[in-house]
Symmetry: C2
Subunit: 336 residues, 2 copies
């Protein structure tokens, strides 16, 4: 590995991404400490809290079962706002198009964006379009940035996990990553695996109703559930134990992962969240989630322990325990 060059793994969301962010990007641009890094920044604006977030999307292929780069881009930014407890307000759209890209495909993508924005209740208010010559980009890249409003006094952040917290996920893991991979590689699957791409702000609004019991929310996108749990354990200075048998997993996703040697714990999701909830409220939150269309398969998958700080362990189905680290290298490039 050449230390002087950018590697694909620097975009994985895993260990290499964190190294690049922590050693170069964040200290140079802003100096936000690792414990303060969340899916969106929270700005105090005359006593009113605003959330602000950005994401660029480079998914390959552009269309995949369950979505396309357009609704992915809208939902991704809606979800990043929701993960700090913000109500999505307004969004920008920055398009980078490759010369020769199909105008019809662009139209379909934009229509998906509008539909997703309307569904999430966010307005697309500003944008930009650039075109680069053939071969200088890959069809279409989309940046979405979003502003949200925090209508409450809660602080929901990655440093908020406390020993005893129960960890709840709203459904099956790995669907998005495997759907994109299957579409890209042209895998012929017996069953239909679709991306779980969805806006989570409605579900989060339900959870906010539980008030201070909700400590952390994060969507396990690039790097999957494993990487996200590790990030939170490090940010909060706590340990985490999860139980393999409680992780909701679609049988078809399990099958593809087994054949390809992929661990679903590291596969990206786009419509899932991990909620860290005070133990006394956990069952109530679980019930609330299960009543929501995006939480029917919600499950308590583990809990927070006092230490060792930053350690994540999984109790396996056969009764052992194994340590969970962040994604190393790049398992599935260009998943979002």
């Amino acid at each position: 590995m050449d230390k002087d060059l950018i590697l694909l793994g620097h975009g994985s969301g895993g260990t290499l991404s964190h190294q690049l962010l922590d050693s170069l990007i964040i200290p140079t641009l802003s100096g936000i400490p690792a414990t303060g890094q969340n899916d969106a920044a929270v700005l105090d604006q005359n006593g009113r809290r605003l959330a602000f977030t950005t994401d660029s999307y480079v998914v390959d292929p552009v269309f995949f079962p369950g979505g396309n780069i357009g609704d992915l881009a809208v939902n991704g930014t809606v979800n990043d706002l929701a993960m700090v407890g913000a109500r999505p307000l307004a969004m920008s759209v920055g398009l980078i198009l490759e010369e020769g890209f199909s105008r019809k495909a662009l139209g379909e993508i934009l229509a998906s964006m509008r539909k997703a924005a309307d569904l999430a209740g966010i307005a697309i208010v500003t944008g930009d379009t650039k075109v680069v010559p053939r071969g200088k980009a890959d069809r279409i890249f989309i940046n979405t940035s979003g502003i949200g409003v925090l209508d409450h006094g809660l602080t929901i952040c990655g440093a908020g996990a406390r020993p005893g917290d129960r960890i709840i996920i709203n459904g099956t893991i790995g669907d998005h990553g495997i759907a994109v991979l299957a579409a890209r590689e042209g895998l012929e699957l017996e069953s239909d695996i679709r991306s779980d791409c969805a806006p989570l702000n409605g579900l989060v609004a339900e959870l906010i109703g539980e008030g201070k019991a909700v400590h952390v929310l994060r969507d396990p996108t690039r790097g999957g559930v494993a990487t996200t749990l590790k990030e939170i354990a490090l940010q909060s200075g706590v340990g985490i134990v999860i139980r393999e048998q409680h992780l909701p997993l679609n049988g078809a996703v399990r099958g593809v992962c087994a054949i390809l040697g992929l661990d679903p714990l590291y596969v990206a999701n786009e419509g899932k969240l991990l909620a860290f909830v005070a133990p006394e409220a956990a069952e109530r939150v679980l019930e609330r989630m299960r009543r929501h269309p995006l939480g029917r398969e919600a499950a308590i998958v583990g809990e927070v322990v006092s230490g060792p700080a930053g350690r994540v362990e999984m109790e396996t189905v056969v009764g052992g325990r194994r340590g969970i680290e962040m994604l190393a290298g790049e398992q599935l490039p260009r998943i979002c």
Copy 2:
């Protein structure tokens, strides 16, 4: 021209850009009418007005005399906020990196971004980094989105020009586009042409001091002064007359344009603004501008007339009049 494909000219900022925006992108995403399109959206948030804007940068080469893609990206978004009269508050940075891009070059670009942000007084608060395989992007693309606050009750927008308004520019035109072109093509110039890339929020804060006399502000980036004037004439439903001999032009830029057959009126700027100002305040605004380091060569270049609506004319040096249209096709691709 194949109507079904995206062309380079769709990113020019000129006629083709407007056609794509008006026929497809804006109606699909948001439905903002052409008269309401400004450099930034203005959102009313509990009686407080926020500005929100986005731009992606794909400039080639990444480093050029007077700047690089990093400070260009920061200043561009600062300027878009300033053009609606907003004070820049916070910015996001979305990086799309090509596998194999130099980490050292990335470090230099990020350092320039931080320096530019500090100079403009805007905080970089959130970001995202993606990496795509070699050949799927061109080194580095940067999206910056920004939030600003309007600290006053003025409405500064493209539809605000009124007959009689004087049109003031804060300095020479075409420097950015020619500096980038010369760097890209390896032109050996006798004199040094540098990009005018600069944050205009300080200069705008001065102008805001003139209150309601300032009707329109816009930075003539892609498509140059000609395209920007045409946009404003159309948005405001007025005519515009400018005088060629009053347009500030660096002699070296004039020379390169003459040799290459380029019209400086269509060449991009990155540190210039056009201010439309009530006639009684014009001389005062001009003096204020000239006292500012970014306005020393400011000049009144023309005025608004009642009609024909949407028509822009230039009185040439030799005394004729010619109509000015938007940039057609793509004069200089990837200038920002």
